[in-house]
């Protein structure tokens, strides 16, 4: 059972188990040993009296079951001195019944019992010793009988047959035990590898087993990350409570969303979910957890393994960065206002008439200022998105109308640039979403299309309504996105090599589109060919999006 590697079982747990075994040992030896002793006497006397053989066999069976129970607890007990004693006792009983010609069925029966029992109870090497001893004793018995020293109950022929049976049983159990031993050695060495490996890993590893997700393994790093001893057998459903796991907003982490549970129950791997943990010493940590299911050869999920990394520092830095951007953006806006207003006043000739050249210069300044204001707003939005502060205020929205508005807004720019802008959106119907956010996302995509499509080009907006999702696209005949840029296109401040840097823009447009669409439960993707054009797609769930209380709204 690979699921039961209790590699890092705590010392407490070990002691508890030991206590339980000792208790069982006293219980069984208290019942079994007197019974066996009484039974031996009874059996001997009875055999002489010629009681029916079936009753004898049943009694032997009961005795054997008891003996096996005892053997089981002896096997696990530390009182190793009793194991050989039990073995020798069994051997003597067998030899005695072989002496005793009265019930030969019992003797045959014992022949089958003793060899495997000796292995089972004492392990591999002592098992060979006891079996050999038994064999030697049996041969010695035969010889003594032949010499006439022991009275003969069986014919010589019967005894030799019996010896062959004994030899066969011995060989079979030896072979079985030998394979088992090889297997055990492999498992032990692998287990040791695993223990050293897990013990030395800087990341926490926890493992839960099917069906109910009990914890079977936790390495020392996991205990360090959780700041406490991890007790085995805690159920996955109790993890959030036991280990005080929470989401970023402080609400308890739902057990069914925990990566370990997701892996075990749904068979899905999850990558890098952040879990907030409150340690017993009062400190807080952010743990980044990934989990994957483990399947047996039939494909059934038997366990799940989770890897925990400490992301506390990363979170702090990211938060500081966001806070800084937020503060800097607010601070930037005030002087920007002065600049913007001054330029506007001058351009409106409120401070006196201007020459054409002065007007042009002011117009450059005005455009740059507007761009700067936009950049600052986008930076603020990014810092809000990254802090999860975006509020969603969904309402039933007519997507066709929303699309018309966005196209109308961008159309003058497109016309100015000599681009044909077509709106193919028809009958997309109504979806419950935050219209301001989706409008912004669509506008960003359209603005990008206009920006990166050369004069004379063509832009098309379209969409389709599926069973579960509405998909919309913005297609352009623009410069396209080079293959090597495809992974980075949604990153902040990224711009592909094939577009000139003096293009206006903040480098945050697509990043915001992605953030908006994903926060609304949708996806964004694109197809592109350099020199031919790009199509950006996004989907939105028809079921709509739930309202989200965020302290902030995007500045739109």
């Amino acid at each position: 059972m690979p699921a039961n590697i209790d590699l890092f079982k705590s010392e407490n747990m070990r002691r508890t188990e030991e206590r339980q075994r000792t208790r069982m040992f006293y219980l069984f030896s208290g019942i079994a040993i007197p019974y066996l002793l009484a039974y031996g006497v009874f059996d001997y006397l009875d055999a002489r009296g010629g009681v029916h053989i079936v009753i004898g066999a049943i009694e032997h069976l009961l005795a054997f079951l008891l003996l096996l129970s005892v053997a089981r607890y002896y096997k696990h007990s530390q009182l190793s001195v009793l194991k050989p004693l039990i073995t020798v006792l069994m051997m003597i009983m067998l030899l005695v019944s072989m002496f005793d010609g009265g019930i030969s069925g019992t003797a045959i029966y014992w022949l089958f019992v003793f060899p495997p029992a000796a292995f089972y109870l004492n392990g591999y090497k002592p098992g060979i010793f006891y079996n050999t001893l038994f064999f030697v004793c049996s041969v010695a018995y035969l010889l003594l009988q032949r010499a006439g020293i022991i009275p003969a109950f069986y014919s010589m022929e019967q005894l030799v047959q019996m010896l062959f049976v004994l030899l066969q049983v011995f060989l079979i159990s030896f072979a079985a035990q030998f394979n088992l031993e090889k297997f055990r050695v492999t498992i032990i060495s692998q287990r040791e590898h695993l223990r050293v490996l897990l013990g030395g890993l800087p990341v926490g590893i926890t493992m839960v087993v099917a069906p109910d997700g009990r914890l079977s393994t936790a390495n020392p790093s996991a205990e360090r990350l959780f700041g406490r001893t991890i007790e085995p057998n805690v159920k996955a459903a109790d993890f959030p409570k036991t280990y005080q796991l929470a989401r970023e907003d402080g609400t308890p982490y739902p057990a069914e969303d925990l990566p370990l549970t997701v892996a075990l129950m749904r068979g899905e791997s999850t990558v890098k979910n952040d879990v907030f943990v409150k340690r017993p010493d009062g400190s807080h940590a952010v743990l980044r957890v990934s989990a994957a299911p483990v399947r047996d050869e039939t494909g059934r999920i038997v366990s799940a393994v989770a890897v925990w990394e400490d992301a506390t520092k990363e979170h702090e830095i990211s938060r500081m960065k966001s806070d800084f951007i937020s503060l800097a953006s607010h601070q930037l806006r005030t002087p920007l206002t002065s600049i913007k207003w001054s330029i506007e006043m001058a351009a409106d000739e409120e401070n006196g008439p201007l020459s054409q050249a002065q007007k042009e210069a002011l117009d450059f300044a005005r455009r740059s200022t507007i761009r700067l204001v936009r950049l600052v707003s986008d930076l603020l939005n990014v810092s809000r998105i990254e802090r999860g502060q975006i509020a969603l205020q969904p309402e039933l929205t007519d997507l066709d109308a929303l699309c018309r508005e966005a196209v109308a807004e961008i159309n003058p720019t497109a016309v100015e640039k000599g681009l044909a802008l077509e709106n193919e959106v028809r009958a997309l119907g109504q979806v419950r979403l935050d219209p301001k956010l989706i409008f912004q996302a669509l506008l960003n995509l359209l603005a990008n299309a206009v920006k990166y499509t050369p004069k004379g080009g063509h832009i098309e907006v379209g969409g389709r309504r599926g069973a579960n999702e509405v998909e919309m696209f913005v297609r352009d005949s623009g410069v396209g996105i080079p293959a090597e840029a495809k992974d980075k296109i949604f990153q902040k401040f990224f711009r592909a090599d094939n577009v000139s840097v003096d293009n206006e823009g903040t480098g945050l447009g697509l990043y915001l589109v992605k953030a908006i669409i994903e926060s609304s439960g949708g996806r964004v993707w694109f197809e592109s060919e350099v020199g031919k054009g790009t199509t950006f797609w996004f989907s939105l769930p028809i079921s709509g999006v739930a309202a989200k209380e965020g302290s902030r709204e995007l500045i739109i």
Partner: protein, 142 residues
């Protein structure tokens, strides 16, 4: 604090500008003076509140992120005071959250403009508009 008035035939309207950024404040004052308003400026919240009580302006232009006492508290104090209760207040800030806008409305602001989103010309028009409406009876959503 400076008090500038321009002699005209009629009594000029008085505008109190509570704004901590001095250049911005100066620019707004210049613009308003050109419209023949009388302006008073205060560079922090508590100074602004004192000035409102002292000069009883016809309208107050209020920033929200202010030293000493923030704009929300100033607004709330203005509305509690018998002397200043009826003075219209136009919030002119760079905070753009709906939450902040709603809060100022609840506190009794008569208008809200986000600085970077509007031109100074528009601010001036808004002031004229509010002055023509007179007292702070109704709040105006912008």
């Amino acid at each position: 604090m400076d008090l500038v008035s321009k002699e005209t035939g009629t009594e000029p309207k008085k505008i109190l500008i509570i704004e901590d950024d001095a250049p911005l404040s100066a620019m707004v004052q210049n613009r308003f003076k050109r419209e023949l308003y009388e302006t008073v400026s205060a560079l922090n919240g508590s100074e602004g509140l004192d000035a409102a009580r002292k000069y009883r302006p016809d309208i107050i232009v209020l920033d929200l992120l202010l030293p000493v006492m923030n704009g929300f508290d100033v607004l709330s104090a203005l509305r509690k005071d018998e002397l200043t209760r009826d003075i219209p207040v136009l919030v002119l800030s760079n905070l753009s959250r709906a939450e902040d806008i709603q809060r100022t409305q609840m506190l009794g602001a008569n208008g809200y403009l986000v600085k970077t989103d509007v031109s100074l010309k528009y601010v001036t028009e808004k002031i004229k508009d509010l002055l023509s409406k007179g007292s702070a009876g109704q709040s105006v959503r912008t």
